[in-house]
């Protein structure tokens, strides 16, 4: 299936943010920017994550380094919840 792409400029206009912010996220390795025929795009599949980053930065004043830490911790939290869920299922098995 073809990947749906959004122009960086379009995303920034919609959210009233500077394109530089997007490029700083890319330089930090938090997002991917796709170049094609002189234009730069974002993957539509990653928009949710990017919008979360935008809110963390603009609504909560968290800098890029802080965002990186938060995203890592959220991922760890999700993994831990998944693991806990799995272990709960295993515990249920012991009643078999």
């Amino acid at each position: 299936m073809e990947e749906q792409l959004i122009l960086v400029q379009e995303f920034c206009t919609h959210h009233h943010i500077e394109t530089n912010f997007i490029y700083s996220l890319r330089d930090y390795g938090l997002i991917d920017v796709i170049s094609n025929e002189g234009n730069e795009f974002l993957s539509a599949d990653k928009l949710n994550q990017l919008e979360k980053i935008v809110r963390l930065h603009y609504d909560l004043d968290v800098n890029v380094e802080g965002i990186d830490v938060i995203l890592h911790l959220l991922q760890q939290l999700e993994n831990a919840e998944h693991e806990m869920h799995k272990l709960k299922s295993q515990l249920k098995l012991s009643h078999l």
Binding site: H14, H15, N48, D59, E78, H85, S89, K92, L93, L96
Partner: protein, 298 residues
């Protein structure tokens, strides 16, 4: 409707400066923002409260009105109605910032609505278009329903949404339906609908990942001498060879008879069967005699 103490919510006193309000709001927002508290309804509620407090206290006009009428808001409402009729002008317009979170309820309290009418507008980065709120919903499925791909119609705010549930969906798994959240404000995009699957336990089968676990009873003679056992699976009955000398609680694995692997057609986990040996009850005199003879042989 209860009086809401916005100063208390932000941990401030009435003489707080604009800067104090901003700092207190930022600090609490970092703690309770839905993006850093996924699936935490309490934090989401708290965030709405501090957001509402900030909406009022950071706007000099609203703060003045709140300070003047806050404790006696019911009179303020009457007073404002009369004033608005005289002046024939609208007080506030504009949209609401998106802050994520679950549910389709209003972001602001009844108290706020009563005192300030509609939602408060705020100038800033995203004043023209706002994405609608995301909604969260749970969809309960029986384990056997999750075994096969099927379609299901769910109703949200009176709207029917038909979704296809792929076989092998897991308990706690979340899917996103783009655009099925709250409508956007001022032409902004709609939010998304997140559906979390809750898979209900089955009395006969337990699931762990893609593997299934069940028990099967065999009689003493089959356990001792070997034979066949008919075992239920989610795709029908299965005949298994039971080796002679099978002990109680022996577990055997049948490859590919477990749960379907999510979005991998034709792939299945394994089925684990624990044999439970059923001892004969109500023995006849003859049986007792034969068992006694047997016991003497050992």
């Amino acid at each position: 409707m209860e009086y809401v103490d916005y100063y208390k919510i932000l941990g401030l006193d009435k003489n707080a400066s604009t800067d104090d309000i901003k700092k207190a709001y930022r600090k609490l927002a970092r703690k309770y923002h839905p993006d850093v508290n996924p699936n935490n309804k309490e934090a989401n509620k708290k965030f709405q409260e501090i957001n509402e407090a900030n909406e009022v206290l950071s706007d000099p006009e609203k703060r003045k009105k709140y300070d003047q009428y806050g404790k006696d808001w019911q009179h303020a409402e009457q007073f404002e109605k009369a004033r608005q009729q005289q002046q024939r002008q609208r007080t506030y317009s504009g949209g609401e910032e998106y802050f994520g979170g679950a549910g389709g309820e209003s972001t602001f309290s009844d108290f706020f609505e009563s005192l300030f009418g509609g939602m408060g507008g705020k100038s800033g980065r995203r004043e023209s278009k706002f994405r609608g709120q995301d909604f969260s919903a749970e969809l309960h499925l029986h384990l056997r329903e999750a075994y096969a791909t099927h379609q299901r119609t769910i109703t949200l705010d009176g709207k029917n949404i038909r979704i296809t549930i792929p076989a092998g969906v897991e308990d706690g798994q979340k899917i996103r339906l783009k655009g099925y959240g709250a409508p956007g404000v001022n032409g902004g995009p709609s939010g998304d609908l997140y559906i979390t699957f809750v898979i209900q336990d089955d009395p006969q089968f337990k699931r762990l990942g893609n593997d299934l676990y069940t028990t099967a009873e065999i009689d003493l003679y089959t356990a001792v001498l070997g034979g066949e056992a008919a075992v239920d699976t989610l795709s029908g009955k299965l005949k298994l060879k039971v080796p002679a000398g099978t002990q109680n609680d022996t577990r055997t694995r049948v490859r590919g008879k477990g749960f379907p692997v999510y979005k991998k057609e034709g792939e299945f986990g394994d089925l684990y069967i624990t044999y439970q040996v059923r001892l004969p009850a109500n023995l006849s005199d003859k049986e007792k005699q034969l068992f006694t003879e047997l016991s003497k042989l050992r």
